[in-house]
Amino acid sequence: MLVRKIKEKLFLAAISIATFLTILPLFHILFSVFANGLPVLMRGGIDFVTETLAPPDSELGGIGPAIVGSFVLTFLASLIGLPIAVLTGVYAAEYPNSPIGKAVKTLLLIMMEFPTILVGLFVMNILVLPMGRYSAISGAFALAIVMMPYVAVYTEQALKEIPFVYREGAFALGLKRAVVVFKIMMSMARKGMITGILIGIAKVAGETAPLLFTAGGSARIYFAGLDQPIGAIPLLIYTLVQQPYENYHQIAWGASLVLMLIFLAIFLPLRLSIKEVKL
């Protein structure tokens, strides 16, 4: 009796400690980014998010080009990736037993876990090398590849979760397949699809690896054209921390906080509302 109770207590203690250890890094990251980034943001003020990078060993300046670049890259990546990804998800949901349909589902799941640096290398080979320079379009293309499997898989799942009776109901009204899928099923699945789209966007907004060999980075020019190099917040952080200058390390902390705030702004509402996805 007593032994059993002790065992139970020990087990409870063990899983509590394991849980604590698992989430500890998360809180440590949140804490250190806030603790180091907030003073930088306070000091830099609004200039920090609008101005361009200061020279080494001087003032803070700002990370404006990187913020603009991140938005441009994410927007372009969505423009390229979302339509294709949604159609892929629809195909996988509509033709689950066709050979291609079956393969697509598996390939998407592999793609989701694929090392993103390889995506960067791939795009470098097919776009950067032929063009002869880093560019916004190459970066966006790499991000689109990273984003697509999330959106496609969420779309497929959201469509599949719709009970069969609604499908039958829609077809029984004499509606064509395209109308059933694109007008009715997709509007019923919209919450799940939006979740996938936002996760995809949040994911690529924070990605560094696919941009290393594609976007090129730009800390002093906001936007020079689709075929010109462009900045991104994660890329800027990566570059700055490798520099020997104290003010650059400060800017990197500030940029980290900005990135985290953007990420949380997308993710928190999403996670809090995710239970509403049910029909």
């Binding site: 039958e168 029984a172 064509k176």
Partner: protein, 250 residues
């Protein structure tokens, strides 16, 4: 002319033959009940009439179904389903759409009307026909998911009627409803059959007796007996039918 006629109809799911050669003639403007125990193939048979079986990849149909003399398998499936409305066992109005849009949907996407006014008229007409208008006329913009089960089912009837079908298929339409809602639907059937042909599937002989003019008894995918409802119920020719009607089977 018969509204629906089946000729040597056979249906398989994979290798499993669920409808085993059925010849059935359903006259115009009657309520025709198909009754039988669970798993006898009633719902499958119904879905062969409007080709909804085609949503099921493993279903295979042999023989023919005629709609007012024309083979439905020679017609465009969309055209068939415009002429044959259907109401399901689980009330399935689209929960994310308004009451109005649920009724308007089929008419709108099939481009059967020219103007919004015409559409308003059809929606009102269909909701009145489905005996739902008085309950929802002030809340047409509310979501369909806010209605009660019985109201949802009448909304589905309105949705089907808005397409002005010649035939209405009902797959156990009251199986998930309370007795009062069931009664409302049955009264509705009585009114509707004056203008169109109703084929209702039911596992309840009592319901078949209450609503139908003709009845077919289906058992293990075969047609056991068919005839005027009163004849079948008073003088069943087959022993199986008698056993089913007296509750010794099913």
């Amino acid at each position: 002319m018969n509204a629906i006629e089946t000729i040597n109809l056979r249906i398989w799911y994979g290798n499993n033959e669920v409808i085993r050669g059925i010849n059935l003639a359903i006259p115009e403007n009657v309520c025709f009940a198909i009754m039988g125990p669970s798993g006898c193939g009633k719902s499958t048979l119904l879905r062969a009439f409007n080709r909804l079986l085609e949503l099921n990849e493993i279903a295979r149909v042999e023989g023919d179904v005629k709609l007012f003399g024309r083979s439905v398998y020679g017609m465009d499936s969309v055209e068939v389903r415009r002429q044959i409305g259907m109401v399901f066992q689980i009330p399935n109005p689209f929960p994310h759409l308004s009451i109005y849009d649920n009724v308007a949907l089929g008419v709108r996407y099939n481009r059967l009307v020219e103007s919004k006014r015409e559409l308003d008229k059809i929606v009102e007409w269909a909701l009145k026909k489905a005996a739902l208008w008085d309950e929802v006329k002030d809340r047409l913009k509310d979501r369909a998911s806010e209605l009660s089960g019985g109201q949802m089912q009448r909304l589905c009837i309105a949705r089907a009627l808005a397409m002005r079908p010649k035939v209405l298929l009902m797959d156990e339409p009251t199986a998930n409803l309370d007795p009062i809602s069931t009664r409302k639907i049955e009264e509705l059937i009585y009114e509707l059959k004056k203008e169109l042909t109703i084929v209702i599937v039911t596992h309840s002989p009592a319901q078949a007796a209450r609503v139908s003019d003709y009845v077919a008894f289906l058992y293990l995918g075969k047609l056991v007996e068919v005839g005027k409802t009163e004849d079948v119920f008073e003088n069943p020719k087959e022993k199986l039918t008698e056993e089913y009607l007296t509750g010794r089977m099913g």
